[in-house]
């Protein structure tokens, strides 16, 4: 399993507008300007392909920070 920083790197790639350098573990990713349902599906796809973990819409909805998503992925490995 990746470190939080490697995870953030892959996570941030799913956002078209926000610069990767702006992402921290505490980032409230759903408040970002380019957040939408397509980005949510991209994160689900990235997590599935990279970590073989299946997140669902409900998981993304209940997460607030990038760290929340990271912890969810770790718990499902």
């Amino acid at each position: 399993m990746d470190t939080i920083n490697d995870f953030i790197s892959k996570f941030s790639e799913q956002f078209e507008m926000t610069d990767p350098s702006e992402f921290t573990p505490e980032t409230h990713f759903k408040d970002l300007e380019d957040w939408d349902s397509l980005v949510a599906l991209s994160i689900i796809g990235m997590v599935h392909n990279t970590y073989n973990v299946k997140l669902i819409g409900g998981d993304i909805r209940s997460a607030i920070t990038v760290n929340d998503v990271y912890n969810m992925v770790v718990s499902k490995i």
């Binding site: 397509l38 599906l41 991209s42 689900i44 796809g45 392909n49 669902i56 819409g57 409900g58 909805r61």
Partner: protein
């Protein structure tokens, strides 16, 4: 004798994917129209539930996994001469195109397209499909008419089945075997509610995108199957019946 052009009295009909959703509703509704139903599915418990819900007598059930060639052979051998087949077995895999891979594409294409086609061919080869019978594929508006985010793979399987149905309709017309598709919009079954989208989002989607302001019920698709299985549709082949609450007219 009551006049009923949609009667399925004494017709023997094979229904796949009958453990749940559209397949289950189709089996039950066809039994209520007098048909003798053979149901098949992978889930023993749920298939038995469907079986217990069938009206009348003379029905049978068989567990089969169409990815196993052996299961197909056994299923085919056990069939009586059929008056109709309704292919309801299918899966949905939602994934953005950028993330799909060959294996996932092959898997969904196999379940939704290859398996029903191969099963039908095997039944024909063993002469289990009578002249004048009716073959139905449950397709979708996804693919043949529209698509939606994350559903490119699913859409492709349904477009494939529609193309195949038209070709089959021509090839089998000599035997008066009719081949048609039903294209449902979003129907309330378990296939979609496996967590990808929230309840409120689904409710909002129904209100905003469906002129009739709701999703369909599995029974409403089953009624279309009854029409296509009955003698009332003896002049209907190669067609695609859209059951979508008006979604595709907007």
């Amino acid at each position: 004798m009551k006049y009923n052009p949609f009667s399925l009295q004494e017709k023997k009909i094979l229904i796949t994917g009958a453990s749940s959703g559209i397949g289950k509703a189709t089996a039950i509704e066809c039994s209520r129209m007098g048909a003798k139903i053979i149901i098949t599915g992978r889930n023993k418990l749920r298939l038995e539930e469907t079986y217990q819900s069938l009206e009348g007598n003379g029905h049978s059930m068989m567990i089969a996994d169409f990815e196993q060639e052996n299961d197909i052979t056994l299923l085919v051998e056990k069939q009586p001469d059929l008056d109709g087949i309704v292919h309801c077995a299918g899966v949905v895999t939602t994934k953005l195109f950028s993330f799909i891979n060959r294996n996932e594409l092959k898997a969904i294409m196999d379940t939704n397209f290859i398996s029903p086609v191969v099963l039908t061919q095997a039944l024909l080869e063993k002469k289990k499909i009578k002249k004048g019978s009716s073959i139905i594929f449950i397709s979708s508006i996804m693919g043949p008419k529209v698509s939606s985010v994350g559903n490119s793979m699913y859409s492709s399987t349904k477009s494939a089945i529609e193309g195949m149905a038209k070709g089959m309709a021509l090839d089998l017309s000599g035997k008066r075997i009719r081949v048609n598709c039903i294209c449902p919009g979003m129907v309330d079954t378990g296939i979609i509610s496996n967590g990808a989208i929230s309840e409120e989002q689904l409710y909002k989607d129904a209100k905003e995108n469906y002129p009739l302001k709701r999703y369909g019920s599995p029974e409403e698709v089953a009624y279309a199957a009854i029409y296509l299985l009955s003698d009332a549709s003896n002049w209907v082949t190669g067609s695609s019946l859209t059951i979508d609450g008006g979604y595709t007219i907007k």
